[in-house]
Amino acid sequence: MAESSLSERQLAFMLFMSLMGNALILAPISGSGRDAWISSLLAAVIGLYLLFAIISIQKAFPGQSIIKISEICLGKLAGKTLNLIFITMIFYSIIIYLFDTCILIRTIFPFLTCNILRSLIIISTAYCIYRGVNAVGRLADLLAPLTLLFIVGSLLVISTVADFSRLQPIVTNWRMLVGGTLDGAGWPYSVITILALFLPFRSDTGERNRLLYIWFFAGVIIFTIRNILVLSILGPEYVLLTRFPLYASLRFVAFADFQRVELFFFILWFVSGFMVLLINYTAGVLAVKEFFKLPNFKSIILPIGFFLVVMSLYMYNSDMEFYTLEGITTPIIKLSINLLYPTIILLAIKIRGQSLQSPQIQSRPVSSKG
């Protein structure tokens, strides 16, 4: 397969891994109490809309990057401004994922310093991006089934200590439910927008996108079951106090003489954390390449990585500050930008319709030439 093409299956696995990411171990929507699992289910509607929106945009401009489509539909100034906001959001997401992955690794290896750890993670991901977009897709293809296996395993293991009475009564506070739905729509579901940057690389340009929707729903089911189980093991109050609720849930499990069962699943969190970082980093590099209309993206991989490592250290060197600030603001930032960006472009396509059928559309499709 060419270095710059992705199959529908690879895209579907990339979507799945982006959804799982750090949300698997952290606690999205935990603020909405025992109804978090219902909020998670409702928030998936926004995710479904975003998936539909980016696919529709891609259908209107096959082979074109959303960065370029934005400029075609909205004009140079408005398009560039919107793109700049979107790219800033991608960079901010990468900084957050980098921080989260480091914090997780440091729970096991507390003596590793942040400077070294963040640099090592970025250099590892940069190497994957150097191999091309297809290599990222193949890695997702390879790791998604393994991740799924460990997810199912971890859910089965923690289900042995679940106490479902902790989930009752349900829907006692509608405001919390609506708030939780918006929170969940912001993170993890709105991250789907990032996939728009990979859709132009799709090799099989079939009309059907069945696999993308199937793996989206697989993610939704996993989040819902995970929320039900974690809440029924830890209870809504304790979920708020723990940094990694799934990890904390696994610590409740004991099998005969086996101890520290949670460490068996460490690979799951590392793999999902690494993959979401890799996908976002690749998307960031592709977006910058399209924004500046560069001939290839490989030369900007390391400079962007260097910039992100430094900015992550500059912005967040204390996890106390990070969790105070990030937990409250990130869902709002992500929801507003990730929801508005494709919606505005989709609306522009619908409104301008035929007038957009200009020669620009027949221009050279996006490439990942290195």
Binding site: R175, G179, L325
Partner: protein
């Protein structure tokens, strides 16, 4: 941190330097240099604890009161 900056700069120069200069793509050179320069400046600002450069986090702090109001309206706890 200073070691980190040196390692990254060396990596960029060794891996990307020859190719970028050979291609003579000025826009590419400008983008590579801009990101590297920004990283060096912020890195030095961080190491020397000068904090002269604008902190992107201040924008997030500006959003914090609004985010807290939304959280309070929906009775969400964090």
């Amino acid at each position: 941190m200073v070691e980190l900056i040196i390692v990254f700069l060396l990596l960029i120069c060794i891996v990307e330097g020859p190719g970028v200069i050979k291609r003579r793509e000025w826009k590419e050179i400008l983008v590579v240099s801009s990101f590297s320069l920004l990283a060096v400046l912020y890195g030095l600002d961080y190491v020397l604890r000068l904090y002269l450069l604008p902190d992107p986090k201040s924008f997030i702090y500006m959003l914090l009161p609004l985010a807290e109001q939304i959280m309070d309206f929906f009775n969400l706890s964090h």
